[in-house]
Amino acid sequence: MSQGKSRFSWSEGQAFNKTVNVTFDGELQSVPAGISVAAALLGHDDGHFCRSAADKEKRAPYCLMGICFECLVEIDGLKNRQACLEPVYEGMSVNRQQAVMEEKNEENL
């Protein structure tokens, strides 16, 4: 399941008999059922989750408990979802949130 790009791996003795299919930025992946989107994305590759609102710096989860808002992703078209609080489900589509600017522009319109 891990693509070898991640700095994490699923620990041994961890039996996942069920998996679900999700897409990360359009790439189809099979991930263990029941885990959070944050865990799925961290286990998938070494990338970031979003870019900071102000500096556009790459960001990834810091707290993994709903406090830091550094894991914001777009899930099935809904922006600003906290990946650490959302469990994966079959057919879920997750996009890294690059478009903080777009939202700001929308606000300004």
Binding site: F8, I35, G43, S52, M65, I67, K79
Partner: protein
Amino acid sequence: MKKTYDAIVIGAGPSGIACATELAGKGLDVAVVDEQAGPGGQIYRNITGSSAAQQKILGTDYTDGLELVNAFSSSAVDYFPQSRVWQAAENGAVYFSRNGVSQQLRAPNLVLCTGAMERPVPFPGWTLPGVMTCGGMSNLYKDSGLVPSQSLVIAGSGPFVWLVSEHLLALDVPIAAILDTAPLKQVFPALKQVSGAVKRLDFMMKGVRLIGEVYLAARKKRVPIYRNVTELQAQGAEKLERVSARAGKKQLVFDVDTLLVSEGIIPNTALFRQVGCSHRWDPVQRYWHPEVRGEGQTSLSSVYIAGDGGFVHGAKSAEYKGRITALHIAKEMRRLSTVEYDEQLTPVRKQLDRELFPRPFIDALYAPRRDLFALDDETVVCRCEGVSAGRVRELVRQGLTDHNEIKAIIRCGMGPCQGRMCSAAVLELISEVSGMNPANTRQHRLRPPIKPVSLQELANAQLGEEDES
């Protein structure tokens, strides 16, 4: 759908589920609203879904929660998981977002069981992907069994550093170094509080044993442990590549892509500040906490606190506090006579007292060290808006000593996290530059919605007809 209850409990950690189970057992109508997908909070996260291997690594501190969670699951509580509370009000209204839809519930009693969070401490490079809290790592493992496969550094002070080190060593995770940032000299002032601690030698020995076992396991695996560590830095372009620090005269450098940090645990007060509860400054642990009386009463008559959200005392204490608050509410709602109340309260109160004996010692031993917030001007304080310590200092020098005013000018605390990550540091900077005692400063307030809700969702909100506006 049901909209009104006798009590609404916010948070399904040990205090919330203990409180709700007790309330339901007394025949009260109870709703529990929680962010997570399952009950247990951070400490007992995913306990019913965890594997035997996970339970073995995490030990009895984790599996102790099973009974509590099972009792909650078989109680008559209306449970709303995956629900983000974005506003609560003194009149008993609770607004939350679930599956992209907002709704409102009401009750004459609100019990806020928001729990604790890691103290956010800025240092150079802390925003780089690859820098995470020890608690975050622990959650990741509980949630999914995910563990780091490449070399990492663990840095910080407090019991959590040792707990996570113990787990990762047992999991054979390659650890480049453990950096203990607790100053050795802090043992001496803590000794003043030792009289309470000796009443709980079992608890103290557990801590000593934990640290001893980590040292032993680390030696076996040739993982160096450095003490009195300072000048922690995360370096890299776009992600963590290197960790540097100083231990005495020795300059340390580690090429790693994961750094786990922890500088203690503080109450998560965001919701209390939004509701408008009075707070008090704790000068030892240096955090604001809601004012709380013996049975969880706050400055607002309809709002109660149970658990670490009021003051950090750990999971067992949280459970007992939850029960005590439930008994108090049941008495107030006339479901318990005074005699029954006293009878049922006494044993729980005894259990709680026993848990609290060693806390003043632990709090003093792991108090934030004096230079914890002695930040370089360039260090980013507000992660969301990229505001540096230097810019905050500039404004304080101009006479601003209110985080709310500073926010209005340089957006520090205005991003998605609404100051959850920066307010501890901003307060210390205000105090450092102005010389003010933090207790005399104005606290950073949160305005609703305190969780991201789209305008579309607010427009479609199912907030009930009796909503006054």
